[in-house]
């Protein structure tokens, strides 16, 4: 049972209707929580997007948008810096509708263990098939669609790595959680409906941001955690993927354009520890981390 919880939602004007019709009503149905402070961050940087009430039931709504375009990780780092939530906070996608016991279950899961970095909710109906330990709830990485986050941990690791811009920054955060001594948990009882576009709407006459950025960041993760050998392996996975040649080349170009010094430094400082966590921190295929 928590009296209050802080929730960050990075959202654009196109998605705000989902927040109004799905997310807020489901926040209001959350059991055992008296007040939810919901903060919107308009990641497009094009002005204020919430023109509704500042309080709907037990949800207190504030918009803290900056004027610049921000990636997923950046916008949550920005919100964290600005609001400075104590104890824990929640990161949530705008196109989510929660089961009534979702937050309660996440809190219970968090409280049950020590040194928890993040707890992931159960994504219905399209769950990442990565499995978890049924006794400890430990999982290799946690999806950023809905995360219950330890504020101390988030502060300690400096939040998300903003160089990812979007996609896979949650894998990076999870892996840094393991490396800094914090657990990554999965909570099967914290149900949240998330009908992601990729399962329904992706056509083959164009590419989507998810395809581009998750492929680019796959190379980033490989280099950051496994050095040049990891990158070489990841390139082979990319080459063997179903994408057309031009698209693969575009991904390689995107990676080549990154200043990789910070990744090299990270790898140098952490490579021994990374090898200790080889059951948790691993790449098993193209864009596969479990």
């Amino acid at each position: 049972m928590r009296d209050k919880i802080t929730v960050f939602c990075s959202v654009s004007a196109d998605e705000i209707e989902n927040v109004r019709t799905w997310l807020i009503p489901s926040l209001n149905r959350q059991k055992n929580i008296n007040e939810i402070n919901l903060y919107f961050i308009n990641y497009t940087g094009n002005g204020i997007i919430w023109d509704g009430d500042t309080r709907i039931g037990k949800v207190v709504i504030k918009e803290i948008s900056d004027e610049k375009q921000m990636g997923f990780g950046e916008s949550h780092n920005f919100a964290f810096e600005k609001i400075k939530p104590t104890d824990q906070f929640i990161i949530i996608n705008p196109d989510v509708s929660l089961h009534e016991g979702c937050f309660d279950a996440l809190g219970e899961c968090y409280d049950k263990s020590e040194n928890v970095g993040v707890v992931e909710a159960c994504q219905v109906p399209f769950e990442h098939p990565k499995g978890y330990d049924k006794k400890t709830n430990e999982t290799v990485w946690a999806s950023g669609f809905l995360l219950f986050v330890n504020s101390d941990f988030f502060k300690k690791v400096g939040g998300f790595d903003p160089s990812f811009w979007m996609y896979c920054e949650d894998v990076d955060l999870s892996w840094r959680s393991w490396l800094t001594g914090y657990k990554v948990l999965y909570c099967p009882d914290a149900g949240a409906y998330h009908f992601t576009g990729g399962h329904f709407d992706y056509r083959d006459d164009r590419f989507y941001l998810e395809q581009y950025w998750s492929a680019r960041n796959f190379l980033v993760l490989a280099y950051k955690y496994f050095g040049q050998a990891g990158l070489n392996k990841a390139r082979r996975y990319l080459n063997a993927s179903h994408y057309p040649k031009e698209f693969k080349q575009s991904i390689l170009n995107a990676f080549d354009a990154i200043d990789t010094q910070s990744y090299e430094k990270f790898y140098k400082e952490n490579k021994d520890k990374i090898s200790e966590f080889d059951k948790k921190i691993k790449i098993t295929g193209f864009n596969q981390y479990h």
């Binding site: 799905w22 009503p25 089961h99 109906p125 149900g191 056509r203 006459d205």
Partner: protein, 589 residues
């Protein structure tokens, strides 16, 4: 009467012949532009001052009632897209989302009567031989051709692309059925000459749209991939063409109220499944377009004690107080099993004959975006969409609306719904949305003695009363748990039920004798002409082995000039009796 003109692209001499062919027309309606096909469309856009113009290439023969037809087409386009939101209606094009070529003109080579369209289809590519232009809207939006192409077909395509860029839709409508004489086709020399014909339009497409392939009647136009739209901090003003077309296709200009009755058949101890289903109904309802009104008919099995049924109902009504839930307590019926009786009783309780029915099993769930496509519901069509299997495990002792394990499984792609005619049930119950009037006819006409497979039977029987429109979107999830009835080891009861239903379908005259005999005669004529291995392929083809045999034999048959036959065989398999009925209707218009 709107201000309409008809323009032919022809010479003065040819126009005289056209006038002669159109006996009974007021001659003054015909005028011509003798500037060659490539200059035809630019001339129309620059010089014609009427609100609407029907433009025709010279080989087109129009029906006598063309002006009445044009009025109807304008009305349908206004209803479908909005009075100020469309530019071109044609009779031959590629339909949006399915990329299916829809052809409503009749040319002498194919000799097939075209199928009628019950509602207008949104087009992503269009033929220019006969098109109705809404010049009023084109002028209002200041649409001009960005450059002049070498052919009328490509100029028409340019106008289509510019239309969508300016928020005007393009449609295909069988009302514009015409006859085209002396069609020039499959000319190899001409093809060679035209090998570079997409060069300019490819540049145009790359400059204006992010898509890297575009569908035409024959080949795709492949556009070099450029990734600006995917990068951070890069301004890319290009549009997603197919995204824009899909938006138009699913937009309803006239927001006619559409009442959808979700019928759920259930019994006690199904709370976990029901909660999930109601969760998804709640989410779907919250984001549904305002013209959708929803009610849930909860049909509770007659084996359930009514007091316990009331408890279940009250719990659901309290928890989901934003959903209109109406109970149907199933009465015992000596003739029908509860699954069928529940449907019949639920349908009987629906007062609005113009409403629709979505049959959803209590362990299925619906996808929230589904209602965005339901402006495509029509009282004369069966709306068929896709559904997705989920392999699940549920805990027996847990009152939760979450499975303990779940994984996405196979997609039921119901584009091949016609396989039901071959006995395959590849259209799950939750994939179809029926007009209630069609279900009423099914229940009025048949007793439906069986138990399981009733969904398959109803779908087959309903096709007698309305054609299918397949919409390639996924609208529901289906729970597979390894213990569902269809997986039971002892399938005796299931098989008995299936046989009972099929007996009723077969003896209903669902397979039309006339169309079957007609095809057989066509086949025999072809077989006489062909020898050897090809003959055997044809025999196999007609004996119903359409899958692999069809794929192997089509190229050979095409070489032999038996395209028409293949089409007949395919269309018969695809549409069954409905194809022929609709074709005849379209000619009668």
């Amino acid at each position: 009467m709107e201000q309409i003109t008809i323009k032919y692209c022809t010479t003065e001499d040819e126009l005289e012949k056209i006038r002669d062919e159109h006996v009974g027309f007021n001659e003054s309606v015909f005028s011509h532009i003798d500037e060659g096909e490539d200059k035809f469309l630019p001339h129309i856009l620059n010089e014609v001052s009427s609100d609407y113009v029907l433009i025709c290439l010279e080989n087109v023969i129009l029906p006598r009632n063309i002006f009445t037809i044009i009025e109807d087409v304008i009305g349908r386009a206004n209803d479908q897209f909005g009075t100020e939101l469309w530019s071109i209606i044609g009779n031959y094009g590629v339909e949006s989302m399915t990329h299916k070529t829809l052809k409503y003109l009749r040319d002498r080579r194919s000799q097939i009567l075209p199928q009628s369209s019950i509602n207008m289809r949104t087009a992503e590519w269009i033929d220019g031989r006969v098109i109705l232009l809404n010049l009023k809207n084109i002028r209002t939006k200041n649409i001009t051709l960005p450059y002049v192409e070498k052919s009328h077909e490509l100029n028409t395509a340019l106008l289509l692309f510019e239309s969508y860029k300016n928020d005007l839709a393009v449609g295909i409508d069988s009302l514009l059925y015409v006859y085209c004489k002396n069609e020039k086709r499959d000319n190899k020399d001409e093809d060679d000459e035209e090998s570079g014909k997409y060069k300019d339009i490819t540049n145009y497409l790359q400059k204006n749209f992010i898509n890297h392939s575009f569908y035409t009647f024959s080949d795709d136009i492949i556009v070099p991939f450029s990734d600006e739209y995917l990068q951070r901090d890069v301004r890319d003003n290009r549009n997603d063409f197919y995204g824009m077309v899909k938006k138009k296709a699913t937009h309803s200009a006239v927001a006619n109220k559409k009442e959808i009755n979700i019928i759920i058949r259930t019994q006690l101890l199904r709370d976990d499944f029901l909660n999930r289903l109601f969760d998804t109904i709640r989410i779907s309802q919250a984001s549904a377009p305002t013209y959708i009104s929803l009610r849930v008919l909860l049909a509770i099995n007659n084996v359930v004690d009514q007091a316990k049924g009331n408890v279940l109902l009250t719990e659901l009504q309290q928890k989901y107080d934003d959903i209109q839930i109406e109970p149907i307590f199933i009465e015992s019926d000596s003739k029908q099993y509860p699954r069928v009786a529940a449907l019949k009783q639920s349908i009987d309780s629906i007062k609005n004959d113009d409403s629709f029915v979505w049959l959803v099993d209590d362990d299925d769930f619906i996808f929230p975006h589904s209602f965005n496509f339901m402006n495509l519901l029509h009282k004369n069509i069966l709306f068929v969409a896709n559904s997705l299997i989920f392999h699940e495990e549920w805990s027996d002792d847990k009152k939760s609306s979450l499975p303990t394990k779940f994984k996405r499984g196979k997609l039921f792609d119901t584009a091949e719904y016609y396989k039901t005619l071959e006995g395959d049930n590849n259209v799950p119950v939750c994939s179809v949305i029926y007009p209630v009037s069609v279900l009423q006819k099914v229940f009025d006409g048949y007793v439906l003695y069986g138990d399981y497979a009733e969904d398959f039977t109803i779908f087959l029987l309903a096709q007698q009363y309305a054609p299918v429109r397949h919409v390639p979107v996924t609208i529901a999830g289906i729970s597979y748990r390894g213990t569902n009835t269809v997986h039971d080891e002892d399938r005796t009861h299931w098989s008995h039920s299936y046989a009972t239903f099929m007996s009723e379908v077969v003896n209903s005259g669902h397979m039309n004798n006339m169309s079957y005999d007609y095809l057989e005669a066509e086949m025999n004529a072809e077989i006489k002409r062909i020898t050897g291995e090809k003959k055997s392929l044809l025999r196999q083809l007609f004996s119903g082995q359409l899958g692999d045999v069809m794929n192997k034999s089509v190229p050979i048959l095409r070489e032999e000039g038996v395209v028409a036959f293949v089409k007949y065989a395919y269309l018969y398999k695809k549409y069954g009796r409905g194809y022929f009925r609709d074709g005849i209707e379209s000619v009668e218009q």
